[in-house]
Symmetry: C2
Amino acid sequence: MLRIITQRAEARTELRRICDRIHDDQVVHKEATVREVLQAVKRQGDRAVLHYTAEFDRLTFKAEDLRVSGSELDAAYQQVSKELLDAIRLACRQIEAFHRQRMPKSWVQFAEDDVVLGKRYTPVDCAGLYVPGGQAAYPSTVLMNAVPAKVANVPRIVMVTPPGAEKTIHPAVLVAAQEAGVEEIYRVGGAQAIAALAYGTETIPKVDVITGPGNIYVTLAKKLVYGTVGIDSLAGPSEVLIIADKVANPAHVAADMLAQAEHDQMAAAILLTDDSVLARKVVDEVERQLIDHPRRLLTEKAIAHYGLVVVVESLADAADLSNEFAPEHLELEIADPWGLLDRIRHAGAIFLGCSTPEAVGDYLAGPNHTLPTSGSARYASALSVETFMKHSSLVQYSQAALQKVAGAIDVLAKAEGLHSHADSVRLRVRGNLNPEA
Amino acid sequence: MLRIITQRAEARTELRRICDRIHDDQVVHKEATVREVLQAVKRQGDRAVLHYTAEFDRLTFKAEDLRVSGSELDAAYQQVSKELLDAIRLACRQIEAFHRQRMPKSWVQFAEDDVVLGKRYTPVDCAGLYVPGGQAAYPSTVLMNAVPAKVANVPRIVMVTPPGAEKTIHPAVLVAAQEAGVEEIYRVGGAQAIAALAYGTETIPKVDVITGPGNIYVTLAKKLVYGTVGIDSLAGPSEVLIIADKVANPAHVAADMLAQAEHDQMAAAILLTDDSVLARKVVDEVERQLIDHPRRLLTEKAIAHYGLVVVVESLADAADLSNEFAPEHLELEIADPWGLLDRIRHAGAIFLGCSTPEAVGDYLAGPNHTLPTSGSARYASALSVETFMKHSSLVQYSQAALQKVAGAIDVLAKAEGLHSHADSVRLRVRGNLNPEA
């Protein structure tokens, strides 16, 4: 079921097909729906939010029920086990520690003639976090979005998440939010939640940045509101690419592939190895581990459509193929992972060595698990503290400094036909401009 | 013509109207055209690029003429004055010096149990720079886009710019490109240029990131291809907000406002001052400086529609209004600009003191002049070296470290219903999991 390919050309074609899998979707039709939702929420606020929640989620709310109450927040702590609370707290601490590393710092630099240049970093005023929900619960998603916003010192952090059938939010999600310092939570999901965050409603505040993964409607909505607000990225289905050599354990590699495939039938799991024996064993192990898998059907589909094993000539070859794919997650289950690292150009997160399954990073190693998908690691990065911050350039010139560059500015402004640009400098300096600067 | 407002409520309404001015546009109709162009270029490559260049720009090309030749590049140096070349070189040096400051650096951190965490920064493989052109020439735009890409060590930098009526590119643009280290230049503009960079054609390479400002078609195209490639931002019309007190020179303030207005009839120029005498004088000066203005008609339009003077109670009030507007450019022409800085939360670039006209930053102070517009300084920043780089998270766990967190991961994975996530850790560790971690 999991195919093995040995031809490089075929491997490249297959990898391209897998990388582009999201474009197959009927995106244009869905976009029309999303546009309608955005317009309605922009115009009608809460009313439209409640309307689409009834229509799409089959749940009838009043506006005053949208916000999760203090007593529900408190009650959530009674509903999670001590083990889960401890695990959430451990993850929270480690994610926070990592994100506190190398926080962007404001700086100024003093140059000659009293010129001051610098960059000043400030947080956004208000961040909106989208957390998928419904029947599933993702406390880890809460932490990976909320903790960086908190570390960035965002004064107001708002979370939205679709409720389950009983209109409730999973207690693990509510506990994770509170552990990360988020208490303003609204039970709404889908495009209507993104619209509410982008435009604001009577109940839900307009935010400056929206982050977090969601289904195709959420992603389309994020793309459409980008420009009205900032967004973290357009999340596609998840993927792992594993480069393994003979030191890798086939059962471990198989589990890592299935850990990706079990997310979603669109998830991709790829193994590149220079060891054809390992390739064979991994295929067998995947079959074996699928037998009793609680999500067998979905996981099998993902493996069948977007699972792949490629036997390569060398690990250098594997790195080159990986660079073309630009995976969200890259595991280097090889004898010398640091030796191959220099050859890796594009990957959202890199897991080095045989004792670092991706799950460590998904939950608690510290780095963010919100990563660029579908080849966007070619140009994009993990969600980070910077997602919730921006910088202002600082410039101060003295009269003497301005005098020195006045001639050069005059020449440039005139070359661009911008008369008042030249004037704004000329009027401030005395005597002849010095075109030599 | 330039209105003075003294009521705070009216000022807020007017500032909001000006900030939202871009949304008035007939964007939806234009988007259909842009979608058509994107689809055609994606499918037909050069043929579509040439077709739309003939249709929109009334210029007929062969594919082999798209790329600017080496002899044209050489010839450009003969066509610019020594003064302009020197000014371009000065600007290039200063922009490079600023962008080399605080380059993002890769790092690793070693924790207990041989855990290694880090971030590894790498440049994109290929960057595409859009430079507006046609009848105008913007060498400064070339430098502000190309220099950061060069500093980021992007191996391949491609520039596109619409040619003028004679199919030529302005020599100042070609010289600026070469001074910044860019020699791969294609004469194509509009949505078809963005499409070519996003999808690649027979002649023009597919890039990873597209940066640079353009008209509404270019901006819409950038928004639509975002996700296929990275983009810097969605540039709207330019704007300046000036906070001035009695130390400011009315003629200087007026010139700064006109320097913004002369860009575009959608440009905005706003003065907030606590000195009603200054307000009056600036209005008079604007009138006076407009009399002989070479772009009088366009500049007057911008001032009439999107020019505004607000007399405020205090500079603190001015800062608060400015934060609501989140200006692209903010000038603090006041006695104590550094004193007010702490109250400023959102601005693309801040120009401090009376000897720092925005034009200094537009051309050569060093910070980037590609800045967030239309209120997006609430969440976005200037184009920077980071626009052309991305980071990969690095994680390495040892067997001992994995053992310690195995229990916590198991609990979290099970709470999320992700069986193989749990397996991928459980299979790697021996004995009992320790849920306390």
